[in-house]
């Protein structure tokens, strides 16, 4: 066995490594065993001398940024001059001048680019120019549990080629466990640029150890509707206990909701498909029933899937989104076999995310959520959102599987810095976590919260907790906007406007600005803030002032 002092050395060495380096070393050792790694440790940098590359990243929750930074430092080790930039800061006019242009980009929404990459994405999609000089490569971050896996990256990869760019390495699609794939892609790129097969050891190939998401199982401790009688809303405060759970304020909790059993059974009876028959879905095999119940999206099919169904049943169905059951009712399948083939074309159930509204510092082994029961109606009939409805109806003691979606783009600053939080409705969630964290840390920085909802008496989420934070001095300022308590509607942005001078002062003093909640609200708030920066007169160009805040990481949004 290994001698204690060797062991000691190994431990010291391992401790000195960061996560990626450990992953690499791990795979590297594997490689030595399986013999498929080359260990020529020689470095002739001359070939890479004065090569210039640009690494541009588009990120929502920070993963792409992390990889891009790692990439840059690796490149520098190789003597490559690497410039790193976030796509929302990237000067589009530079694109034609680029030599090596490497994009690290994630996919958001339903196959869309991250908000910060939108400008770039749209730009390259409007043709009318080409990029003959451009040598490029794309690293796409994504999540196989979403139907449009790595779509944004694929689009970018395809468009740059379409515009005449020269692809130096194939696109690499990464799942949530992106470390190794990303590492290997970097190696390929660096080798392509340096023209050598391999140089320093850090470039040796690493064997992927597939990990995937860590799935936790939690128990419901409490599930309370925070809205009072007579409210139009239903917002549940849900407490989940889970021994080993780890997260940071700013993270969200991810859930893949199951489809209602009755709907599944009706579909099975309508199509005559054999519920026991087993299928292979992703890497696991399961019964038709389980497939429809736990894996495939059947409640609300996108147009592309409806179109595929039309082909199967040989009907011309107008382009629309709808639930599978309605579809089957309106356009019955003639033969179970048709449905079996169609099953293959159904997409996975997309995970739903919920901002975590607690801090492990105050509630160890617990995760709290603030879930709005999603209501909508289809021809006068009231319906509820699949996941939020399920969560709101969970009984105390029942169990639930989830994962943690980390978001390094939505973190608290140092304790001595001020923060301004704007979170109406469920947007309050991460800020409840922030305030708990800041309180237990005894942070000296000041905290200012803007909250809003419909009515003061029925919809003031976490009112008593916020009042206590205000009294205790944790909250230095608390402004509330209740839209429907008076004739004219009042929203958080109106409250911001009312206190424009102070608001701007806080920002000038280095406060970090956080916005969470509905997309539309996020936009209105941004307009207001730009507006008040203009009015303040202190900044001649409000847009660039805001961008300045973005680059400094002092203007962070988590909107949905």
């Amino acid at each position: 066995m290994i001698s204690p002092d060797k062991m000691k050395k190994i431990k010291e060495f391992i401790d000195s490594l960061d996560k990626e380096e450990q992953t690499w070393t791990n795979g590297y050792l594997e490689g030595i065993h399986t013999g498929n790694s080359s260990i020529e440790i020689s470095s002739h940098k001359n070939s890479t001398e004065n090569k210039k590359i640009t690494i541009a990243y588009g990120t929502e929750s920070g993963n792409s940024k992390k990889i891009a930074n790692l990439f840059a430092s690796r490149a520098k080790q190789e003597g490559i001059h690497a410039k790193i930039v976030s796509l929302d800061q990237y000067r589009l006019t530079d694109l034609p001048k680029e030599e090596y242009f490497l994009t690290v980009i994630s996919t958001q929404g339903e196959g869309e680019p991250p908000a910060s990459a939108k400008k770039f994405y749209d730009h390259i999609h409007q043709n009318g120019f080409n990029l003959p000089k451009l040598k490029y490569g794309v690293l796409a971050l994504g999540d196989t549990s979403y139907p449009m896996f790595c779509k944004a990256g694929e689009d970018v990869d395809h468009q740059l080629g379409h515009l005449g760019g020269q692809r130096i390495v194939d696109i690499q699609r990464c799942d949530v466990d992106f470390e190794t794939d990303a590492h290997n892609w970097m190696n390929d790129v660096i080798q392509k640029i340096s023209g050598t097969k391999s140089s320093s050891y850090s470039l040796a190939k690493v064997v992927k150890k597939s990990s995937g998401k860590k799935i936790y199982r939690g128990k419901i401790l409490a599930n309370i509707n925070l809205n009072d009688r007579g409210s139009a809303k239903q917002t549940h405060h849900i407490e989940i206990s889970c021994e080993d759970v780890f997260y940071k304020p700013g993270d969200s909790l991810g859930i893949v909701p199951h489809n209602p059993v009755d709907v599944v059974e009706t579909i099975i009876s309508h199509t005559g498909i054999n519920a026991e028959r087993t299928f292979v879905h992703r890497n696991d095999t399961c019964s038709v029933f389980e497939l429809l119940h736990k894996k495939l999206n059947i409640v609300y099919l996108p147009e592309r899937v409806v179109a595929k169904y039309a082909v199967q049943v040989k009907e011309d169905i107008p382009a629309m989104k709808t639930g599978l059951l309605d579809l089957i009712r309106r356009y019955p399948v003639k033969d179970p076999s048709h449905f079996e083939t169609f099953l293959q074309q159904l997409e996975p159930i997309t995970p739903r995310l919920y901002s975590i509204s607690s801090s492990l510092e105050t509630v160890d082994g617990e995760v709290h959520l603030t879930v709005a029961r999603d209501k909508f109606s289809i021809d006068e009939e009231l319906k509820y959102g699949l996941c939020s409805d399920h969560l709101c109806s969970l009984k105390v003691g029942s169990e639930i599987d989830f994962y943690i979606h980390h978001n390094d783009q939505f973190r608290l600053p140092e304790d001595n810095k001020d923060v301004i939080m704007i979170g109406p409705g469920t947007g309050i969630a991460p800020f409840r976590a922030f305030l708990s964290e800041r309180e237990s840390a005894g942070a000296s920085g000041r905290n200012w919260l803007f909250f809003g909802d419909q009515h003061f008496t029925t919809d003031f989420l976490y009112q008593t907790e916020l009042q206590q934070w205000k009294e205790g001095g944790v909250l230095h300022s608390l402004d509330v906007a209740f839209s429907r308590d008076q004739e004219e509607k009042i929203y958080v942005q109106d409250k911001i406007r009312q206190r424009a001078a102070e608001f701007f002062q806080w920002i000038e003093n280095g406060a970090t600005l956080y916005v969470c909640g509905a997309k539309k609200m996020g936009e209105d708030v941004e307009k207001t803030i730009i507006d008040l920066i203009k009015k303040s007169g202190a900044a001649d160009d409000a847009e660039s002032y805001i961008n300045g805040l973005k680059t400094e990481g002092r203007y962070l949004k988590d909107v949905y």
């Binding site: 309370i224 809205n227 009072d228 003061f456 008496t457 907790e465 009042q467 402004d479």
Partner: protein, 554 residues
């Protein structure tokens, strides 16, 4: 004269800058429906109480919502008088800003409940439009001056009623805080000095209540007031008033030094100026000698017992400069509202419907609120409230009577009133739950159903026509004057009441506790026994209260 240890309220009053405190700031605080503790004490002087819905406490706490705070506002209506237009305004305001229910109180005025903080100012401004206000209807100061309600009682009714206004004027505070805070100041007509020789900056040690009674009806319960004036009529003329001091009808469970007390008649005064002077100085004596360290012993009744009647008389004379005359003979025989139609000496008509516990609303039994609104819209009458929580449709001319009767018929008000048992007609209950913070037990929400269970017991003993005065309060503060009822129920805990017996018809005798903390079955059992005993052993015309005393039941 400063006392050793002033109670916290005393300090708040003196530091309040003439009752302003930080009320204005409190109204602007958007994160709570409440106001600060100190301001809670001060808004009372502006006629409001901060309350919360006690039914909702636990549930709201679990939802992480603060208590469901709201304000109750009480109007100042000397003698309980409103014009038709003012009634219409009041109903409109109630609908727009409060629960919509108008509560007629045992002191002849009305209260609106459930005003959220943001509604208080609009409410007061709307009342102001209608020439109504709530100044000093609560707090340590002279409260709404009450007066014998029914104009048919005597030709001199108007004279006495007008005098209630004069007393009211005399004892209003001088501070302009109310106009500044609620009416945004400019509404203020002429800005006199705030200098207040009567109340100074300390106001009174406790609430102060004045009533004017016209014998033989003691509807106002004149002896339950700090200061009672009994109209003395000689050969059809009002010659003056007997003065009675030191009435108060509350006690505190477990505090033997507190007790209900009937006012003591100390003499007679005549001549408007002298009467007003006497009233004024009685108030100043209470101001100077009342207990300012222990609020439970601060009412005039305790000052009187502390200093003694004789001392009090001399002190009055010392301050007024003239002696009180010897009290004149008078006689009270009843204490009731006159339900139905009656005419006064000026041939004007009056109709009194039955309003259970003074709650004007529409329910499955009767659409009172709608009916009264429609009646007010004729603008052919005035409204007068009684101290038994009823309203008198007043001053209706012969010609207009028909049109009003039409509406009463339309809503079956007369039919309804006639159908009410005499026990129910002689009953009152205080507000208690869910708004009263001091309630131990239910009252106005519970008494109606209890009476329904008592009525059969009376019938069984052939007593259904008896006038038996029954009153229930949710705590020993006695807001429905349960200490001078023939049957008094005083809440001790949820569902539990002390049963008090022995009050008389005229309100000259306090009742005493007969059995303690009874639940409903026990109450019904006791009453059943008492009623059958009464039916068998009563003397002719003997009232239930007198019977209880004669039989030494208490």
């Amino acid at each position: 004269m400063s006392e050793p240890n002033l109670s916290s309220i005393e300090k708040i009053k003196q530091a309040s800058d003439s009752l302003r405190g930080t009320i204005r700031e409190g109204l602007e605080d958007e994160i709570t429906g409440a106001i600060s503790e100190d301001d809670k004490a001060l808004v009372k002087f502006h006629g409001m109480y901060l309350q919360d819905d006690r039914d909702r406490r636990e549930e709201r706490a679990e939802k992480k919502l603060e208590r469901l705070y709201s304000f109750m506002i009480r109007l100042r209506l000397p003698g309980g008088f409103l014009t038709a237009d003012q009634w219409l305004a009041t109903q409109d305001i109630a609908g727009e800003h409060s629960t919509g229910i108008i509560k007629i109180t045992t002191r002849q005025t009305i209260q609106l409940h459930g005003l959220y903080k943001s509604h208080v100012k609009p409410t007061i401004q709307a009342f102001n439009e209608a020439k109504l206000h709530s100044i000093a209807t609560c707090g340590d100061i002279n409260r709404n001056v009450i007066c014998a309600a029914h104009p048919k009682q005597s030709p001199i009714h108007k004279e006495v009623h007008d005098f209630a206004y004069k007393i009211n004027e005399l004892l209003l505070p001088k501070t302009k805080a109310y106009y500044e805070i609620w009416l945004d100041e400019e509404k203020l007509v002429d800005k006199k000095e705030e200098e207040d020789p009567l109340y100074q900056d300390r106001y009174l040690p406790r609430k102060f209540k004045i009533a004017l009674a016209i014998p033989p009806n003691n509807d106002v319960d004149v002896f339950g007031n700090d200061l009672g004036l009994i109209a003395i009529i000689e050969n059809k003329r009002l010659t003056g008033y007997n003065i009675a001091i030191g009435g108060g009808l509350s006690s505190t469970h477990g505090n033997p030094s507190t007790y209900p007390r009937l006012a003591t008649v100390i003499g007679f005064v005549s001549g408007e100026e002298k009467i007003l002077k006497t009233i004024y100085e009685i108030v100043t004596i209470q101001r100077d000698y009342g207990n300012r360290s222990d609020r439970s012993l601060a009412r005039l009744k305790y000052t009187v017992d502390k200093m003694g009647i004789e001392w009090f008389k001399t002190e009055i004379t010392r301050r007024t400069g003239f002696p009180l005359d010897k009290e004149k003979p008078y006689q009270f025989t009843e204490r009731k509202d006159y339900y139905g139609w009656f005419q006064n000496s000026d041939k004007l008509w009056y109709y009194t419907p039955f309003i259970e516990n003074g709650r004007v609303t529409d329910d499955e039994k009767i659409a009172l609120k709608t009916a009264l609104y429609e009646i007010a819209e004729t603008r052919k009458l005035n409204f007068r409230f009684t101290t038994n929580q009823n309203v008198i449709l007043s001053d209706i001319s012969d010609d207009d009577k028909v049109s009003i009767e039409k509406i009463l018929k339309k809503y079956r008000i007369e039919e309804y009133t006639e159908s009410i048992s005499s026990l129910r007609k002689n009953s009152m209950a205080c507000v208690a739950l869910n708004t009263c913070p001091l309630a131990f037990a239910e009252a106005q929400r519970y008494l109606p159903s209890l009476i329904s269970k008592i009525e059969p017991l009376l019938k069984k003993n052939g007593l259904q026509e008896e006038d038996i005065i029954l009153r229930m309060t949710g705590c020993p503060n006695g807001c429905a004057r349960s200490y001078i009822a023939e049957i008094g129920f005083i809440g001790t805990a949820l569902g539990k009441y002390n049963l008090q017996l022995g009050g008389d018809h005229a309100g000259m005798r306090l009742n005493k506790v007969y059995k303690e903390s009874l639940d409903e079955p026990a109450i019904l059992l006791e009453l059943e026994i008492l009623f059958s005993k009464f039916a068998k052993e009563r003397k002719t015309k003997e009232s239930f209260g007198d019977f209880a005393v004669r039989k030494n039941l208490v």
